[in-house]
């Protein structure tokens, strides 16, 4: 069984957010971590490796320094790492990203592709399902649990108040929630092995069946009008009503004033 996990190096929110003049994230200047949902996806794949001897490949698109996140995945137990990096791929939105990853995945043998539900930087939850569309395979998103049965995968898909149990024949794609599991730590020896391992690096030329018009900033239909760091909320207004009735009147008055009710 072959599993490919798509992972993303995202800014560590502890380290602050920095932007390029064009509104995209200045990834080179920020502290980074493996996206939490992706890490849960990787853990799910590693459990399939523990249980069934699955071969786990991690795939990422990013700057050359995104190699670090692949090494981290190898140190957790993944078998192979592939980095897709090329200047022409920079500034990609979800469409261009999913096209790029699909172009890379067309070169790889897989039974199961796992992506995180969404990345904590963009929060779109679009890339996983888009990849499945490009590759023409089924997708089950928001997996809170998964198991393998024969050549199928059975997944609990999470909703706000319930979950659905779905079965899909492999090859297929699953998007994982961070609630799926508690990811394992790297091992110290695994870290040193990970830095000895060869990372496969692919550029634009290695992507299969993708048109230039779908890649990079130029191939991205989404235009960022403006991006900014979170603006701190003001101190707010403090009132001290005399009794609950007065408090209710005040709150209702404010809500009407703002046209909320």
């Amino acid at each position: 069984m072959k599993v490919v996990v798509c992972i993303k190096q995202v800014p560590d929110t502890k380290g602050g957010v920095k932007f390029n003049p064009d509104g995209t994230l200045d990834r080179a200047a920020m502290m980074t971590i493996m996206n939490p949902d992706d890490k849960a996806g990787l853990e799910a794949a590693l459990r399939l490796k523990d249980q069934y001897g699955a071969e786990v490949t991690v795939l990422t698109m990013g700057l050359p320094k995104a190699e670090d996140v692949l090494r981290e995945a190898l140190a957790m137990g993944a078998d192979k790492g592939i980095l897709v990096t090329d200047r022409v791929l920079g500034g990609a939105d979800t469409w261009a990203t999913s096209q790029t990853l699909a172009g890379a995945l067309r070169n790889i043998d897989y039974d199961l592709i796992i992506t995180g539900r969404q990345a904590i930087d963009g929060d779109t939850a679009q890339v996983g399902p888009q990849i499945s569309e490009h590759l023409g395979i089924p997708v089950i998103s928001y997996a809170q649990n998964l198991k393998i049965e024969g050549d199928s995968v059975i997944v609990e898909r999470q909703y706000d108040d319930r979950y659905h149990v779905l079965k899909a024949k492999m090859p297929c794609l699953i998007t994982a929630l961070s609630e799926l599991n508690e990811p394992r730590y790297m091992t110290p020896g695994g870290i040193f092995d990970a830095f000895k391992a060869e990372i496969t690096v692919w550029g634009r030329a290695d992507l299969k069946d993708v048109d230039d018009s779908n890649l990079g900033l130029k191939g991205s239909p989404t235009q960022i009008a403006k991006a900014s760091d979170k603006v701190r909320k003001g101190a707010g207004e403090k009132v001290t009503p005399n009794d609950p009735a007065e408090a209710v009147d005040y709150i209702v008055g404010k809500l009407k004033e703002k046209h909320i009710i």
Binding site: R71, Y185, M186, P188, G190, I191, F192, A194, F195
Partner: protein
């Protein structure tokens, strides 16, 4: 000369830091308060390979260098001195002598489960009358057929009741050295559960209160002759060699405690307001923090240098002694200042620095007091 860490070491450091923050830190206060050995944390460390970091992979270890091991003890000790010393005693004092002096059979039988963390290790040298003066040993081992019969007791043994495998020193005879009769000391591997091997009192300690410090009692304890570690009479050499490595582990523990106290103090002084401004805005605080940070950095360089010496040199006792002496004294000084900068709050058990100051004191005492380290260092200078 390049003082930056390799990418591998940086990633290992982030691993140990994450583990310490998530797994050891939330329990540190409770471990201290209740004096209960943090077994759950030890099991998690075993699962993640933290109990066999410098052991080659063919013996179940992680195959990493001494610096990686030192960083593990350091990061754990930043949040919990007890957890730090459990790893240090297990790795430096039990695994290291078996790895260095053990036969292939002993390595297969003991080193592999120790490195995998399936078993925990301890080391028994100290006796009531034999502390700094290791020649004062009273515990005896007499060969009887295919077995050694051990009688005597050991005190202040870290991981005491929780360990499974013990490296124990005992007198096996008398030999003449430079015209004087000296005790011939040998080392043995003793398993928990061996008839005649029992535990005495548990020490009630000032610091590292969860670390299970016990007296070990041997009454006609019969150990197979093949459990002799090294050769007959090699015990003193094994003990001194082991302590050279152990001192690097304790130096790392001391360094971690100092760093932890400094981190807490920086946070606290920025938050604590007196006379309308944070106490970090007072020049006294700033100068104290500057001195603390500078000494911590100097200690770190000595500790890392000693770890590198263990990796590359045959003898590293001098570097180990300097690292332990300095790091331990810095730990005591920095934690004392940390309590002072926390004021009344720092004297309460609500704040980590109170525990850290108590934990720091032992690093000036065990595995060779600061005075012993000065003896080692000056002897090398004056030889």
């Amino acid at each position: 000369m390049d003082f930056s860490l390799s990418k591998e070491h940086e990633m290992a450091q982030s691993l140990f830091r994450e583990f310490a923050e998530k797994e050891a830190k939330p329990l540190a206060q409770e471990v201290d308060e209740t004096e209960v050995f943090p077994r759950e944390t030890v099991n998690k460390m075993a699962k993640n390979g933290f109990l066999g970091i410098p052991v080659p992979k063919e013996y179940g270890g992680q195959g990493c260098d001494p610096l990686t091991y030192v960083m593990c003890v350091e990061e754990l000790s930043k949040v919990c001195g007890t957890t730090g010393v459990i790893v240090s005693a297990h790795t430096s004092l039990c695994i290291d002598p078996i790895m260095t002096f053990g036969t292939e059979e002993q390595k297969q039988k003991y080193l592999i489960p120790l490195a995998k963390g399936e078993k925990l290790g301890a080391f028994g040298l100290t006796e009531p009358g034999a502390g700094t003066d290791a020649q004062g040993q009273q515990t005896k081992a007499v060969l009887d057929g295919n077995e050694y019969v051990i009688n005597g007791s050991k005190i202040f043994i870290t991981n005491g009741k929780e360990a499974d495998v013990y490296v124990i020193f005992a007198v096996t005879g008398m030999i003449e050295k430079r015209g004087r009769m000296m005790k011939e000391i040998s080392a043995f591997i003793v398993e928990k559960g061996t008839p005649g091997f029992t535990f005495g009192t548990k020490e009630k300690k000032m610091g590292i209160r969860g670390s299970s410090t016990y007296e070990l009692i041997f009454t006609d304890c019969r150990v197979p002759a093949e459990n002799l570690l090294g050769k007959v009479g090699q015990g003193f050499k094994i003990a001194m060699h082991t302590l050279d490595g152990g001192r690097i582990g304790i130096a790392a523990q001391a360094l971690g405690i100092a760093e932890g106290a400094l981190e807490r103090t920086i946070e606290y002084t920025k938050e604590r307001k007196q006379f309308g401004k944070s106490i970090a805005a007072q020049q006294n605080t700033q100068f104290q923090l500057a001195d603390m940070a500078t000494k911590v950095e100097a200690a770190k360089l000595l500790v890392y240098k000693a770890a590198m010496a263990k990796a590359t040199q045959k003898e590293y006792g001098f570097e180990a002694a300097q690292a332990k002496l300095y790091a331990a004294e810095v730990a005591m000084e920095v934690t004392t200042k940390a309590v002072q900068l926390h004021g009344g709050y720092g004297y309460t058990r609500e704040y980590d620095v109170e525990r850290m100051m108590r934990d720091a004191k032992i690093t000036e005492i065990y595995e060779g007091t600061s005075e012993v380290q000065r003896m080692v260092i000056s002897a090398a200078l004056l030889k």
